[in-house]
């Protein structure tokens, strides 16, 4: 799972796809995940970072992450 190279992101969670002109806002956690995807971190590493940082059940987070990544794929943000 890799973010498309030309996707622009900001620390505030704003995502801009210059190929389509679409822009999106994501919350703080979403923004952290986007940052890690941009750094080409493996999925397991993202899961470990978020689960150690926040009080979240790992199974629940894995399901949420799966949903989130599906959305990013639908919006052609992921390669």
């Amino acid at each position: 799972m890799r973010l498309k190279k030309n996707i622009a992101t900001s620390e505030e969670g704003f995502i801009f796809n210059p190929g389509t002109g679409d822009s999106f806002s994501t919350n703080g956690t979403g923004s952290e995940i986007i940052g890690m995807l941009k750094d080409e971190k493996p999925l397991q590493s993202i899961i470990d970072v978020i689960c150690s940082k926040y009080d979240v059940d790992q199974n629940q987070f894995e399901r949420d992450l799966d949903d989130y990544l599906s959305q990013l794929k639908d919006y052609t943000i992921l390669e």
């Binding site: 622009a8 801009f16 210059p18 190929g19 389509t20 002109g21």
Partner: protein, 364 residues
């Protein structure tokens, strides 16, 4: 990257007199005001702008910081002789260097007249009649087939009774379009019938019944040099669309497939001047050319703002200066159109209505 004039002489800026049409700026605006704004922004030359208007309430007539003087010209239906007579009268007073017509409906006459205008010392930068006609709405499907471009299926309709046959071939929803402007989406025969008469009353025959394509609307503004080279091209995604289908907000995007498509069109037609390709991008990634407008679009100022000033570059080419094709532009540049109540006096309205001329305060 700014297009550069070879051997520019910045110290001796020439004052160029440019006449521009399409000064209407209503909810379906003409490109004239945006074209003038872009030309005025170029620091390579000084300009005197002459507005050419058809009606007394075209807002650009009263925008005296943009238009130095406006003259009314006859409607296209009056023919080329009447238009030429009026243009020669204006030329005697203003010594025009260049005319940039921006209405689809007037372009036929201006292209017909371009040699006579040239003889009189007035430049234009317009496509050849053959190219102009090839991209006409009523011939676009055949043009696409010949050059392997995706164009929605269509059928020309000369009487309402032909709609049923068109519907059998195209299906519903169907887009009922005028030969110059306007398009109505019809979901039933009754809606198509009503749309046929509505558009016929406004734009005459034929009417075009076109296959409906669902997708994302992308417009591309391009500038051709008349030799097959694209000097500038910028794609824009519509962000907000009015009930007339016009972009009220849009953003420059970075997608080379659109740029390649526009370059192909310019190369095939050896397009001379500005044009706009209206694209529908389907969810499976196919790009259909819905229309090719033979002039700058109303959103053309966005191109200048993004780093490719197409109207100013057209002026340079029209007066014989060499330009280098643009290669870069700013992606993510947004335009948002807005309405503004311009206030004028009855005396100005009276002058343009009564004498067909109105000079701006700055020019007096």
């Amino acid at each position: 990257m700014e297009s550069q004039i070879k051997n520019p002489d910045k110290k001796n800026k020439k004052k160029i007199v440019v006449a521009v049409t399409a000064l209407n700026a209503i909810d379906s605006p003409g490109p004239g005001v945006a074209v003038i704004r872009a030309i005025r922004e170029c620091s390579d030359f000084e300009v005197r702008i002459i507005g050419l208007s058809y009606e007394s309430l075209e807002p650009g007539i009263y925008m005296h910081d943009l238009v130095d003087k406006t003259y009314q010209i006859p409607y296209p239906s009056a023919g080329t002789d009447t238009l030429l007579g009026r243009l020669m009268h204006i030329h005697q007073i203003e010594h025009l260097d260049l005319i940039i017509p921006n209405f689809d409906a007037e372009l036929f006459n201006f292209i017909k007249l371009k040699d006579k205008l040239k003889e009189a010392g007035i430049s234009t930068f317009l496509p050849e009649m053959k190219s102009f006609e090839a991209r006409d709405k009523i011939k676009l499907y055949e043009f696409g087939k010949k050059h392997e471009l995706s164009i929605p299926k269509d059928k020309l309709i000369y009487q309402a009774s032909d709609l049923a046959e068109a519907a059998e071939q195209i299906g519903y929803p169907m887009v009922v379009k005028g030969k110059f402007y306007d398009a109505i989406i019809a979901n039933t025969f009754e809606q198509a019938h009503k749309a046929f008469y509505q558009i016929q009353a406004k734009w005459g025959l034929p009417i075009i019944a076109q296959e409906f394509i669902n997708g994302t609307e992308i417009n591309i503004a391009a500038l051709g040099d008349g030799q097959g080279n694209t000097i500038s091209v910028i794609p824009m995604r519509k962000l907000y669309i009015t009930d007339k289908g016009k972009a009220w907000a849009g953003i420059t995007i970075d997608d080379t497939s659109y740029i390649d498509l526009a370059r192909k069109f310019v190369r095939i037609t050896k397009w001379c001047g500005g044009c706009e390709l209206e694209i529908m991008q389907t969810c499976d990634g196919k790009s259909y050319i819905m229309e090719v407008n033979p002039r700058f679009p109303a959103w053309i100022y966005l191109c200048a703002a993004a780093g490719q000033n197409q109207p100013a570059t057209l002026v340079k080419m029209a007066i014989g200066q060499k330009v280098i094709p643009f290669r870069k532009y700013e992606v993510g540049k947004i335009f948002i159109r807005y309405a503004w109540d311009l206030i004028t006096n009855i005396s100005e309205f009276q002058r343009i209505s009564g004498t067909g001329e109105l000079e701006g305060m700055k020019s007096k």
